[in-house]
């Protein structure tokens, strides 16, 4: 049985959603409120209000509440009018469906998202393990912070939802992109620990600097472990991006591994997209 949460759903949408899932799944409904708890749900269904900005805000808040977990947020447009889905997707919605879409399509798409995610392949672990190990090591060494790797999921795009993200483009034998993304508070706490300062003394520039340095160290220390393997890459200059909701171009036919790490009750994510130029076989 899967647990699904419908938020702000009108009776019309409730009826459709309940019809789609039948009696096999547990669908609950709630009104949107700040601090909404999403733990334990496999899918969030949000009915789209009229005000785009408000909806985008709601999605952002729901994404925050997901705490980097891969919970699909399906936005349902109950109005006749077709709307561009891009702003909602960028904000963190997983998919935008319309009540005017054929029901079988909606059912298949939602069911698809409810299918459990796969575990990494052995060959994927081969290159994910060093990233995991080094990310933990870097924060332990530079900030004396204990970091625990929680889980990994796979996506076909890099969509980042943290407040501040460090990005590294990879070139050489293997190409790709690495992105580390943090919520502001955790980033600030980490940088304060790195500097041995109080959080109040940390300004925005130091946080940007810190995130840039973290992705730099993750890539720099990991690349050495790939010498002589197809995953060996060269690094360039780290970029820092601010604000949640970015989509970054990716390489075709490559999967993006999203590694979730935990620091106390807070989380951050490392996106690893790496593709050897020569095929492995």
């Amino acid at each position: 049985m899967k647990r699904i949460l419908g938020i702000d759903c009108s009776p019309k949408v409730e009826k459709v959603v309940s019809g789609l899932f039948g009696g096999n799944d547990d669908v609950q409904y709630e009104q949107f409120h700040d601090g909404i708890a999403l733990n334990g749900y496999q899918m969030i269904i949000l009915e789209m209000g009229r005000n785009q900005e408000h909806v985008v805000q709601q999605i952002c808040k729901l994404r925050y509440a997901c705490n980097f977990q891969n919970i699909p947020i399906i936005l349902i447009n109950a109005r006749k009018k077709d709307i561009p889905s891009q702003p909602y997707i960028i904000a963190g919605a997983t998919e935008v469906l319309s009540l005017s879409d054929p029901l079988p399509a909606c059912r298949h798409i939602m069911n698809g998202y409810l299918i459990p995610g796969r575990e990494p392949l052995e060959e994927e672990f081969e290159y994910l393990d060093p990233f995991i190990k080094n990310t933990c090591h870097i924060l332990q060494t530079m900030a004396s912070i204990h970091v625990e790797f929680k889980k990994v999921y796979f996506s076909n795009t890099i969509r980042i939802f943290g407040d501040v993200s460090g990005i590294m483009g990879l070139s050489g034998n293997a190409e790709g992109t690495l992105v580390v993304t943090f919520y502001w508070d955790l980033a600030k706490a980490i940088v304060a620990k790195m500097m041995g300062m109080e959080e109040g003394e940390i300004d925005a520039e130091l946080i940007h600097d810190g995130v840039s340095e973290i992705i730099n160290m993750i890539s720099g220390s990991t690349k050495k472990e790939f010498v002589g393997t197809p995953y060996h890459f060269e690094i360039s200059l780290p970029s820092v991006v601010v604000g949640p909701g970015h989509q970054i171009g990716y390489l075709q036919n490559t999967s993006v591994a999203v590694l979730i790490f935990q620091v106390g009750t807070q989380s951050f994510a490392l996106h690893v997209c790496i593709k050897p130029k020569t095929t492995l076989s």
């Binding site: 060494t141 940088v191 790195m194 500097m195 041995g196 600097d209 340095e213 730099n216 220390s221 690094i235």
Partner: protein
Amino acid sequence: MKAIVADDSRLIRGIIEKTAASIGFEAVQAGNGREALSLLEASGGEINLVLLDWNMPLVSGIDVIRKMRGDDRFKKIPVLMISTESEEDRIQEAIRAGAQGYLTKPFTADQLTDAIHQVLEKH
């Protein structure tokens, strides 16, 4: 004693400066290799140690070392390279260029202190 700390990250400069200060170095900061060189020029021979990042804008750390080693005034100033570049051939490249020591990021304060002491001893 005076040290130049060159890194494009203000955060890393801050961390290094702190550790350097704890063992008696007064640090001047440079945000890139060119600044580091101009600080050397301006120092009038008072610099006792140079702590250099590898990847910096304008002039890279390795180029700073090469320039220093080609200049009689700065030839003898010990250099510790501190970089995320962690592959053995990169480390060798820095040593060949004239760095006395090499520390890979991430590092702890103790590791940095040890590395500085080693560089000074070698010197």
